[in-house]
Symmetry: none
Subunit: 155 residues, 2 copies
DNA sequence: ATAATGAAAGTCAATATTAGTCAAAGATAA
DNA sequence: TTATCTTTGACTAATATTGACTTTCATTAT
């Protein structure tokens, strides 16, 4: 019923491998062949679904023996998660990236489910309801960063 | 009582599916074709008949493989209290009044301390950081109302 | 060594495929 | 009649797909 588009299916495939392994290493053209899409669609999937906001690191190499390697990283392992995230957010963030950030915080148990939902609602496009996109994205960044900064001062 | 208009019929159709399933996931154009109406009429039906006040959550995605998904949720007992608050807030609220609203929700145990703090941070004048006071107050109203609407149901 | 070749992956913009918005026109009810 | 609800469609926005062109790297030939 769901995931009718190929990108979602490829995403699930890669994540199913990552569920059992530390990382995935693919040959772009092989995955493209496997799902009958053009190679550059793999880049699209990675760019939209395996960002650092989502908690993934991607590295690759071109030329003979080239590869794309995707690794799931745990933000809590970093010296300071919140600082890292705040840097990544900067002064503007899209709803999609915000979702990824909040999801990562939930997975790392910085936020519980209810808190994560609250933040997503507060920063939802429709909630903010401003027509200027730049303003919307900067408000979202301010709200999330405000909350992240608050989290570091409470027990 | 006869309710012979198409919007009512589409409403009944969707609700009959929801009687047996947790949620419905449709392709807008398919339903529009099925009932011989323009696609945007589906939006009209959803907007007028599947509101959160009636206990429905709606989410959608555009682009290839896009969909509209309607989910029936359980409304909580607090729902009418929330209605009252939403009315009181209207389309603008000062930081001081917002504090009072959040405080009372905390006292009524609708929110715990951490959640209350989150909301106050998200709607704080410095967090929002807009110069225009009217805009600030209306953003604050939208955020709090968005959250109150979210608190209506069990997720 | 250096140059040429081929085998990868990357970029980007055009196109395709959905859903959303809004306001005008039409229909119905009060 | 008038107010509200419904229907329609033109326009907008978001997301996905595709392919031509570019860049990088390893290997082979000179």
């Amino acid at each position: 019923m769901q995931s009718q588009n190929i990108s979602d299916i490829i995403e699930k495939y890669l994540k199913s491998i990552l569920a059992d392994a530390e990382h995935v290493e693919i040959r772009r053209s092989e995955i493209a062949d496997l799902f009958n899409v053009v190679p550059s669609q793999i880049n699209y999937v990675i760019k939209t679904r395996f960002t650092i906001q989502n908690g993934y690191l991607v590295e690759s190499k071109r030329g003979g023996g080239g590869y794309i390697r995707i690794e799931k990283v745990n933000l809590l392992d970093d010296a300071d998660v919140l600082d890292t995230l705040i840097q990544v957010i900067g002064d503007s963030i899209t709803q999609r990236d915000a979702y990824a950030v909040v999801q990562s915080l939930y997975e790392d148990e910085v936020l519980n489910r209810r808190e994560a939902q609250l933040i997503l609602v507060a920063t939802d496009r429709n909630t903010l309801g401003v027509d200027d996109h730049d303003l919307e994205n900067s408000l979202r960044a301010r709200i999330i960063i405000g909350i992240l900064n608050h989290l570091r001062y409470e027990s």
